[in-house]
């Protein structure tokens, strides 16, 4: 094994990898995701968003910490729980919100919806609704990087529930066999719909070791701490860029809201959610780090106000954008040669 997997959990909380400027950016990006998602939940309640809508609230530190370790050209792919990834990747909240509401101005022109958005420009490859499919596709992005001889990596996100799919293990083998520059990021938010990780995975305590048979180094990371996420991702990405093959990160995180919108929440106690929100909230954590380092409350308030305006603008944009033209029904089925 190229690297001894170690648990990062104990060391995580005070990892110094992000300086004040980094923490400010993280605070902004995480809060933007949270406010965006809260608004999306509200629009769902108002009937403006239909179907599925999987919110990212609680997990913000993961995508933000990861994104801050990437460089231009690195590729990203994830599941249907994708709003956070898209906003972290720099996609326009207007286009995302408009897609959530099924409007012509959405990233997929209203034909993808919450689960299916893409951006070539931001190297965001979706947005996939089949649990685990993005993992095989993700090693394909890594394969393409290698085929083209670049040092770009593929960040391939999936849930702890998805980690039980067979194609995940096929992908581990292929990525290790061909030394593909792929960082596998398991977002262990403890539940796949209503099934806790303990009820779904025999190795529930150490998913970060799931790549061991193929020699894939792994690490368990406090996914509620953006600095810890960032530090671990930097290490993983450097390992991949150097041509060593894939790397596996297990991000210990938590989903505050239901799986999608209609979730009866009978599989966990409200007190469990409250406990994490109150004691381990990733945004509160960064806020207190910033205040402790001397940043003024007023500065953070200004950031919040800015975010409110951005989210309000995205909402207004989505609500006032037209639905797709009926003729759009038949376009984009095939590329016309």
């Amino acid at each position: 094994m190229a690297d001894t997997p170690t648990s990062n959990l104990a060391a995580g909380r005070n990892d110094p990898s992000l300086d004040t400027e980094g923490l400010k950016r993280a605070f902004h990006d995480m809060l933007l995701i949270r406010r965006f998602e809260e608004r999306a939940g509200q629009l769902y309640g108002m009937g403006l968003i239909g179907g599925f809508c999987h919110l990212y609230i609680g997990q913000e530190a993961v995508v933000v910490g990861v994104q801050m370790a990437l460089k231009e050209g690195d590729k990203i792919i994830t599941s249907y729980r994708d709003h956070g990834q898209m906003i972290a990747a720099g996609m326009d909240p207007r286009g995302v919100m408009a897609e959530l509401t099924g409007r012509a101005t959405g990233y997929s022109r209203g034909k993808g919806g919450s689960m299916h958005m893409f951006s070539r420009e931001k190297n965001f490859y979706g947005g996939h609704g089949i649990v685990g499919a993005q993992v095989a596709l993700g090693i394909g992005l890594a394969f393409a990087n290698k085929y083209r001889g670049t040092d770009e990596v593929s960040m391939t996100y999936f849930g702890e529930g998805a980690s039980n799919q067979g194609q995940v293990y096929e992908s581990f083998n292929l990525a290790a066999l061909h030394k593909l520059p792929c960082v596998f990021v398991i977002e262990n938010n403890r539940y796949g719909m209503g099934t806790s990780v303990e009820r779904s995975s025999a190795a529930s305590q150490h998913l970060w070791r799931n790549g061991e048979p193929w020699g894939i180094p792994g690490k368990q990371v406090d996914g509620m701490d953006v600095s810890a996420v960032n530090a671990a991702t930097r290490e993983a990405v450097a390992y991949c860029r150097a041509g060593n093959g894939p790397y596996l990160l297990e991000m210990s995180t938590y989903r505050y809201r239901g799986h999608s919108m209609s979730d009866p929440a009978k599989y966990r106690q409200r007190s469990e959610v409250d406990e994490i929100r109150q004691k381990h909230d990733p945004i509160d954590h960064v806020r207190s780090q910033l205040l402790a380092s001397g940043v003024e409350e007023a500065e953070l308030k200004a950031v919040e106000d800015g975010i409110k305006a951005v989210v309000a603008d995205a909402t207004e944009f989505a609500k006032t954008s037209p639905e797709p033209d009926p003729a759009e029904l038949y376009t984009d089925v095939l590329v016309e040669a």
Partner: protein, 457 residues
């Protein structure tokens, strides 16, 4: 500024619900994420969380109330210290006013008339281009040459699959390619169809042009999720941003005595899917011309080859640029009394039947479909206008098969020209048996086609 808290829809089907319990009282501070009420929906009892911060100024709908419509104001939220507006909701001030919009949107979609599907062009098909000089080659060589030519032409094209490299192809189709193009472009895969098909599809989403070889189409069922959900649908789901230029090729259908799990025809399966193209070559020229077109096509293309045909020799144009259009059928044999339509190996069956029929004084026209999707219905319509009789021939099962589709389309487009009900000749509706005699009984023979035609004329 006062805002209304509206009755939320907590599931896609909810239109009204019951306020089971208020968890906050008037005057309580709320911050985003706090549970303020419990609502009984059509599915379950669920918690309502606050989105905005403030003070719960007034509860408009008391707990226990049933049949509260989605989007009705249920409470008013005010800023700390602000007074509560008198009676009614705050809708006119700052509250999100989505309810009317939603109704509008719904009304719009209800009245939007269904756009007509692109009409099928039924003009007489153009004559086939003459490519000049030909030479005799096998279907196997034609496929190999097509891949080699395209790989020389475009460095983004690569071949991936089980035994495609060192072994030279399980059926020797990729013979010599590893030597010419090296391991970087002729890539042996472990037995992991689901994984490597996903991988190749991911690579194609970035613009590379993989040729995925399955050892046989039967094994593509391991990977069918990526073929359909990932490769065929992503262009549409991305609003046209992300095409998937990929080829999935493999021997399809029955071989010889390989039993039920190795003998299935996938024409109908893949032909069903919008976002895919599906071709099924019969001759060497079909194989070379269609595979080249498939590799150049910006869409996912399924190439249904046939193991029994790999060793067959046909005349094939020698022109370096020879290529065939996807979506055009070929009239292999003109005739005036009956139209026989086949694809892949069934073209041979139809041709043999036409020979027998000729001896009996029946002049059959044989159409080689070449392409399953898009289907060249115009060519079949033109033929039926001439012959007034139609027999389809395929080795796959009859139920929801290609024959069923062709017959239906002919009924739609040329019903008045028919002098007799169309007939399907298809593989027998059973898993493929192993015994030589039973296998032969399961697959369409020229006699079956002759018998079908004799009933029509």
């Amino acid at each position: 500024m006062a805002t209304d808290i509206l009755m939320p829809a907590l599931s896609p089907t909810m239109t009204e619900g019951k306020i089971a319990r208020w968890l906050k009282k008037e005057g309580d501070k709320v911050s985003s994420g706090d549970v303020i009420a419990e609502i009984e929906t059509d599915k379950a009892t669920m918690e309502v969380e606050a989105v905005d911060e403030g003070v719960l100024g007034r509860i408009l709908v008391p707990e226990g109330t049933e049949g509260v419509a989605v989007n009705a104001p249920i409470a008013v939220l005010v800023a700390d210290g602000e007074s509560v507006p008198e009676a009614g909701g705050a809708a006119q001030s700052a509250g999100p006013s989505a309810a009317p919009e939603k109704v509008e949107a719904a009304a719009e979609s209800a009245t939007a008339s269904k756009p007509a599907a692109a009409p099928v062009a039924l003009s007489a098909p153009e004559p086939e281009k003459d490519w000049g000089e030909t030479s005799e080659i096998t279907v196997r060589e034609a496929l190999r040459d097509a891949m080699a030519l395209e790989m020389r032409r475009d460095p983004d094209v690569f071949l991936i699959g089980e035994e495609v490299g060192q072994y030279q192809g399980a059926y020797k189709v990729s013979q010599g390619l590893l030597d010419e193009f090296g391991e970087g472009r002729v890539i042996d895969m472990p037995i992991t169809e689901h994984g490597f098909t996903g991988m190749a599809t991911g690579a194609a989403l970035t613009g590379l042009r993989p040729i995925v070889e399955f050892m046989t189409m039967n094994f593509s069922m391991q990977a069918i999720d990526h073929i359909i959900n990932s490769a065929a649908k992503t262009l549409y789901m991305s609003g046209g941003q992300m095409g998937c230029p990929i080829v999935f090729r493999a021997p399809n259908g029955a071989a010889s005595r390989v039993g039920a799990q190795h003998s299935q025809c996938y024409a109908s399966w893949y032909g069903h899917v919008p976002g895919l193209k599906v071709v099924a070559p019969w001759s060497a020229a079909d194989a070379k011309g269609l595979l080249r077109a498939a590799i150049r096509d910006p869409n996912p293309v399924i190439v249904l080859e046939n193991e029994m045909l790999y060793g067959h020799k046909f005349q094939c144009p020698v022109d370096e640029d020879f290529i065939l259009p996807i979506g055009k059928a070929k009239i292999e044999r003109p005739g005036k009394d009956v139209t026989l339509v086949g694809f892949s190996i069934s073209v041979g069956t139809a041709m043999a039947a036409a020979d027998i029929l000729a001896e009996q004084g029946i002049d059959a026209e044989v159409i080689n479909l070449r392409s399953i999707r898009p289907l060249d219905i115009a060519t079949i319509v033109e033929s039926v206008k001439k012959t007034s009789r139609l027999v389809t021939v395929e080795e796959g099962w009859p139920f929801a098969g290609i024959g069923a589709e062709i017959v239906m389309q002919i009924i739609e487009h040329a019903f008045d020209w028919l002098d007799a009900p169309p007939v399907r000749v298809a593989g027998v509706d059973v898993p493929m048996p192993f015994a030589a005699n039973l296998e032969k009984l399961a697959l369409p023979q020229p006699d079956w086609v002759v018998d079908a035609v004799r009933k029509l004329v």
